[in-house]
Amino acid sequence: MADNATTLTIAIMDPPYETARVTTALRLIEAALRKGINVNVFAYEGAVSLGFTEQQPHANPVKGTSVEEEGHPTPKDWVAALGELGNGRDGKGKLDWVNCGLCVDERGMQNQATGRRGGPQHLYEFLQNTTNVLVIATR
């Protein structure tokens, strides 16, 4: 990450599809990256599901729409897009997304759209060099 850049650390626990917190967190991450703010993410517990690459869009039998008509970007697509956005180039911030490895193993979600495998020690490392921390816990 660029020296002297502002860095935000976000710890998130929620899985996709259940709460408004996930969308809010992803939007915060994007806004920060676009402002040149580096973002560390520690995906904990259900949040490791966000980037799981096996997510599949589906047709909607209630609405009678096809997969194509639904055009459903599952959260893994958003996570992947943030991974591309957060490359630290063109004045954008750099994204360092760490998935809790034990949480990944519990859920069989080794295949991830972005980020790296880690653990609590990575969250601790994030805390040493961050401007601020936002914990978005499951409620």
């Binding site: 408004a20 970007p73 959260p75 943030l82």
Partner: protein
């Protein structure tokens, strides 16, 4: 015949990701499977009754939902499918929701009338 009263209170949770409200979706699917259903909107979910909702401005990392959630239209489809949709008048009023801004098919009830709805149902699901 089993009649299910679905009390929907939790609102706008994961609907941007899902492109649907999960409870309303399941209610409609059960209706299509033959279940007799009704819906009572209470608390935050009274906002679902407001017409012309559109969450099409969401975009994350340049990726937009292809079919953004239209909760009012989903409710309208439920009503047209024969599902009675009640909503609690006081809960809407507390949130500044004006009846003229809501779907015409919503049947507004006072809190004091809710117990009567329970008596008409054989199963009550709280969402």
């Amino acid at each position: 015949m089993t009649t299910i009263l679905n009390i929907v209170e939790r609102a706008y949770q994961g609907t941007l990701e899902e492109q649907d409200d999960q409870a309303l979706w399941l209610i409609h699917a059960l209706k299509n499977a033959g279940a007799a259903q009704s819906v009572l909107l209470r608390g935050p979910a009274t906002g679902y009754a407001v017409r012309e909702q559109l969450a099409d401005s969401l975009e994350i990392g340049g990726v937009k939902p292809g079919n953004p959630s239209r909760i009012d239209q989903d409710l309208q489809r439920l009503i047209e499918a024969g599902v009675k949709v009640w909503a609690i008048r006081e809960d809407a009023k507390e949130r500044g929701i004006a009846p003229e801004d809501t779907l015409a098919g919503i049947q507004w009830v006072d809190r004091a009338e809710v117990a009567g709805l329970f008596q008409e149902a054989t199963r009550i699901f709280a969402w």
